[in-house]
C-alpha cells in the first residue's frame, strides 16, 4: 500500500504527514490525541543520514511531548550498501536509532512499528524490531534474503529450500512467517483505524517475541533455550 493511502485510511483528511526526501514525518490526530509518525517511503535505504533524521524525530518527541504514542511506518530496502556509510560508521548510526526507539519505550511512549510495504534485514532491526510491537499489512514483504539468493550464498539447492520453506517459516520471506515466529505481532486486516486503536491499546512493554514464536509454532526453540539459560 502507498503511504498516502494508508495515512488517509488511518487519519482524517489534513493529517499533515509529509514525505521529505525518503523520510516520513507527521503529527496526526487519532481518537482525540496526537500521534508522532516517523518512517520511510519508496523502499528507502537506511544510511547514516536517514538513521539520524529518524532519530531526531524520536528525540524531539521524547523531549517535547512526553507520553505521545509513536508510529513507525516502515518501507525500506535495508541498510545503505555504500562504502561512505561504512566509513562514517553506519552501524553506530543505526545503533543510535535503535537506542532512541528504546529510550522512547522506557520513557513511557508506546512505540508501534507498522510494515506497510517492505522491511529488509538491517533496516528492520533498529525500527520495527526495536519497537514495543511491530505489526504489518498482509501484502507487505519482510525478508533477509529471497530464496534464489539464499541458495547461492548457502550453496543449498533452491528446490530443497523451497520445499523446506513449506513447513519451516525460518527459510522463506513473508509476513506470515514473521507472525509465526513472533517477530511480527499481527497483521492489520479490514478496518485499519480499528487495527491502530487495538495496537495502541495492547502494545506490550516487555519482549515476548520468543514466547509468541513458540506458542505459534514458528520458532520452537528460542524461548526454551532462553529459559534453560536462566535456570542453568
Amino acid at each position: 500500500m502507498k503511504w498516502q493511502d494508508l495515512a488517509s485510511a488511518l487519519f482524517a483528511a489534513g493529517h499533515g504527514i509529509t514525505q521529505v526526501g525518503d523520510l516520513l514525518v507527521g503529527e496526526p490526530e487519532f481518537d482525540g490525541r496526537t500521534i508522532a509518525v516517523v518512517g520511510s517511503a519508496d523502499h528507502a535505504p537506511i544510511g547514516v543520514a536517514m538513521a539520524l533524521r529518524q532519530a531526531r524525530v524520536l528525540l524531539d518527541t521524547v523531549a517535547r511531548h512526553p507520553g505521545r504514542p509513536i508510529l513507525m511506518l516502515i518501507d525500506t530496502q535495508g541498510q545503505q550498501l555504500r562504502r561512505r556509510d561504512e566509513l562514517l560508521g553506519i552501524n553506530r548510526a543505526m545503533a543510535h536509532l535503535g537506542c532512541c526507539v528504546d529510550l522512547a519505550r522506557r520513557s513511557g511512549h508506546r512505540v508501534l512499528g507498522l510494515v506497510y510495504d517492505q522491511a529488509l534485514s538491517g533496516g528492520f532491526i533498529t525500527s520495527g524490531l526495536a519497537a514495543d510491537a511491530c505489526d504489518a499489512l498482509p501484502e507487505a514483504e519482510i525478508r533477509v534474503m529471497r530464496i534464489p539468493a539464499m541458495a547461492r550464498v548457502t550453496k543449498i539447492d533452491r528446490e530443497r529450500l523451497e520445499a523446506l520453506s513449506q513447513s519451516n517459516p525460518v527459510f522463506a520471506p513473508g509476513v506470515d512467517n514473521y507472525v509465526a515466529m513472533g517477530g511480527v505481532r499481527r497483521l492489520w486486516r479490514g478496518d485499519l483505524q480499528a487495527c491502530l486503536r487495538e495496537a495502541l491499546a495492547d502494545a506490550p512493554t516487555g519482549d515476548h517475541r520468543a514466547l509468541e514464536g513458540a506458542q505459534r509454532g514458528g520458532r520452537k526453540l528460542a524461548q526454551s533455550v532462553i529459559e534453560r539459560v536462566l535456570r542453568a
Binding site: 537506542c99 522506557r106 534485514s121 532491526i125 539464499m150 519451516n168
Partner: protein, 306 residues
C-alpha cells in the same frame, strides 16, 4: 587510557588466532569459567540439520560465568570458525538468555567476545529476529546498570546485526586487526561493483572498517594489540569505566556527535581525506603506526579539538 605498551612478539598470544573457548580460558581468571548449556548438552540448530549442514554442539557460541580480576562477570564468546559466528535461532537465544540472566543476578559486567558476520543466512528470518532480541536484551541490561563490554578482534570481524549490537554496548574494545562495520565489503561490492568497494583491497577494507579507524573515530573506546592479555587488561579497565545507561542527555550528545561527523565529512568515501579533515597530520602513515602511536594520536586530536 593505558600507558602505551608494546609487548615483544614472543610474549604475545594472538587473540585473532585463538578459538572462542581458548579466548575465554586465557582472558578470564584461570579455571573460573562455568559454562551454561555446554556442548555436552548438544543444544543445536534444528534448521541446519534440516538443510543437511554440519551443526555445532554449542551452535557457535559459548556462554556462562567467570571471574575477571576477581570480579564476577557473565561471558559470551562467538566462534568465528563456525558459520562465521552467524546468529541463528539457538545462538541468539543463548545470548539473549545470558543477558536476561544478568539483569536478575547482577554480575559486575557482561563481556561479549563478538565475532560474527551477523545474521546466519541459513536460518535468516529467525536470525534477524534473534539479533533484535539480543539488542533489546543488551539495552535492558544497561538500563539495569549492568555494563556490557564488547571485545572485537577475531578474524571474521563484527558485522551486520552484531555490528549494531556492539554499538549498543557500554564500551567497545578493538584490536588493530579487528573490524567493525555493518555490511561486509563483499556484500557492497556485489551490490554496487568493485568501483564502490573493492573487497580484495585489504588496505582499503582496513582503513574503512578496521580497529585503528574505528578507534580514531571514537567508535571503539579502546585500541589494543592483537593479544589476549591486552584484551584482558582493557576489559578490566572498561568494566568500571563504561558509559552510563542511556538517557535523553547522552543520546542528544551522541546525536550531536554523529550529526557533526556527517556534516563535516568530506565528499566521497576516502578514509585519508576524512582523517585529514579530522586533523591527522600524515594520514597515509596511519597504516604503519603501531597501537601505541595511534593512541597518542587520538589523545592529541582530542586535545586539539577541545
Amino acid at each position: 587510557m593505558n600507558p602505551p605498551r608494546s609487548l615483544p612478539a614472543a610474549a604475545r598470544s594472538s587473540y585473532a588466532e585463538c578459538s572462542a573457548r581458548e579466548r575465554i580460558a586465557r582472558l578470564f581468571d584461570a579455571g573460573s569459567f562455568e559454562e551454561w548449556l555446554p556442548p555436552a548438552q548438544r543444544v543445536m540448530s534444528p534448521h541446519l540439520a534440516q538443510l543437511g549442514v554440519p551443526c555445532a554442539f554449542d551452535d557457535g557460541v559459548a556462554i556462562g560465568r567467570a571471574r575477571l580480576d576477581g570480579r564476577s562477570v557473565f561471558v559470551a564468546a562467538q566462534e568465528g570458525a563456525f558459520m562465521g559466528g552467524g546468529v541463528g535461532e539457538v545462538h541468539g537465544a543463548k545470548l539473549t538468555g545470558l543477558l536476561r540472566r544478568a539483569v536478575v543476578e547482577r554480575p559486575d559486567a557482561v563481556v561479549l567476545l563478538a565475532e560474527s558476520g551477523g545474521v546466519r543466512l541459513h536460518e535468516a528470518n529467525a536470525g534477524l529476529i534473534a539479533v533484535s532480541e539480543v539488542m533489546r536484551a543488551v539495552l535492558d541490561a544497561r538500563a539495569a546498570g549492568i555494563a556490557v563490554i564488547a571485545l572485537i578482534g577475531g578474524a571474521n570481524g563484527c558485522f551486520g546485526g552484531m555490528g549494531i549490537v556492539a554499538r549498543c554496548c557500554s564500551a567497545v574494545v578493538m584490536s588493530d586487526i579487528g573490524r567493525l562495520a555493518m555490511s561486509g565489503p563483499e556484500v557492497i561490492e556485489a551490490s554496487h561493483g568493485a568501483e564502490e568497494f573493492d573487497a580484495q583491497d585489504r588496505a582499503l577494507v582496513w582503513r574503512t572498517t578496521g580497529g585503528k579507524h574505528r578507534y580514531l573515530m571514537g567508535d571503539a573506546d579502546a585500541l589494543v594489540e592483537d593479544d589476549v592479555s591486552a584484551f584482558r587488561g582493557a576489559a578490566i579497565e572498561w568494566m568500571t569505566q563504561a558509559r552510563p545507561a542511556l538517557d535523553l542527555a547522552t543520546l542528544e550528545a551522541e546525536h550531536a556527535l554523529l550529526d557533526a561527523r556527517l556534516n563535516e565529512a568530506p565528499e566521497g568515501a576516502d578514509a585519508y581525506a576524512l582523517w585529514h579533515r579530522m586533523g591527522v597530520p600524515h594520514p597515509h602513515r596511519l597504516g604503519d603506526m603501531d597501537v601505541a602511536q595511534v593512541r597518542e594520536l587520538r589523545t592529541s586530536l582530542e586535545g586539539a579539538g577541545t
